[in-house]
């Protein structure tokens, strides 16, 4: 499925839109990390929590559960909510 990548993670993917696979958001992130090593830990911590200011959207709907099921036709967006100076 298509995954939209925020600019702070372009150092990993080099492109805004990438392909990755997974039956759940967690599996998708694992696949992204295989393709782009190190990416997952920048957005999900060691306790499997989404890092502050990182937001995950599936078909435009915000998702908070990494075990959320995904279909191959879903569009996933990773968004960084910038704050501070």
């Amino acid at each position: 499925m298509k995954v939209l990548i925020p600019t702070p993670l372009l150092s990993y993917t080099r492109t805004r839109e990438v392909e990755a696979e997974g039956g759940t958001l967690s599996e998708l992130l694992a696949d992204l990390d295989r393709r782009y090593p190190g990416l997952r830990f920048r957005i999900v911590n060691e306790q499997d929590g989404m890092r502050p200011h990182m937001r995950f959207f599936v078909n435009g709907e915000q998702v908070f559960d990494l075990e959320r099921a995904l279909r191959p036709t879903d569009a996933v967006q990773l968004v960084q909510a910038l704050s501070g100076g």
Partner: protein, 401 residues
Amino acid sequence: MGITRKLAARLTKPKAAPERAPRRGARGRVLVLVATRKGAWLYHGDARRRTWRVDGPHFLGHIISHLMLDPRDGRTLLAAAKTGHLGPTVFRSTDFGRTWKEAARPPAFAKAPEGEKGRVVDHTFWLTPGHASEPNAWYAGTSPQGLFRSEDGGVNWEPVSGLNDDPQYRTWMGGEQDGTPDGPKLHSVIVDPRDASHLYMAMSSGGVHESLDAGRTWAPIVRGLEVVEGFDAENVGFHDPHCVRLCPSNPDRLYQQNHCGIYRLDRPSNEWTRIGRNMPRRVGDIGFPMVVHPRDADTAWVLPMDGTTVWPRTCPDGKPSVYVTRNGGKRWQRQDSGFPESQSWWTVKRQAMCADVLDPVGLYFGTTSGELWGSRDEGERWACLARNLPEIYAVEATALA
């Protein structure tokens, strides 16, 4: 001054020749590594340390808490990095920053059992190269407080469980509100140059600690240290060391800048002496960094900060100064030649002041207002090396072969 140093050298008598003590009169070109809240810069000095070639920014926009060159191979750089929003990681370069590669497994706490709240590394704060006999070993201190070790040059990091998971130490580490404004920090990780298994580390807050078995077990060394009025000094968790340094020329001597004064410890004693009592009263003995001479264990420097009233932690009276002792803290001398004479409200963080190993020793520090200062003559005269940098978090100097 020379006579005093010779006498002191005879009196201190280190037990064994330290492995990493730089030779007297060491020469070479100095590389100054500057880590800031918005990236890192490398300053390459000429042979006389008069002109500096700037290389940077590296990691523009990234928070770099510490940047260290491995003295064992003279070319491996590690950078402790995160951004305001992305998680913490470590980058590694073996070509002086031309290319960087991210750690495969950055410092991270173990996953907590289901139903329990686990700890999360907010940022890696401190990097220490391991012992000379362990060429790929590194230590990292984090916020919240944790100690991590890499055995492959900083590629993969594992928690030092003997500390991180010890119930007593979990108590002393406290919670997220028990440390500095951006989180409690484990810092000042020190490897005894005579013994790879002999480690020190400090926690702000949480005291100074020692391990004799490579980190498997730890014991506090806080006797003689004072705590903030109203708190109980018997509680190790209330102790707030800001920076601890071991003297390369006498590894049995440590100096410490604490939240509550400047101290010296001569092992095997476990009792610190508050040598900051000998500072001028109007200046006080509050500050963050502590710097030791590479060849003279009686010489050390501090950069005093205002610790009165609401603790501004800026230069007292807006007049920057460094203070040096040449006799182990019995007397202190002011060094301010070259600094602005007034209206300079600098803050210098605990990692942001250091010495090189040349003769005479060069000193360097960076301010939170983005100025880098240096002295080529052990603090006698100072010059501004760079202005208008972001908030400086750490400054390290190393002599290149």
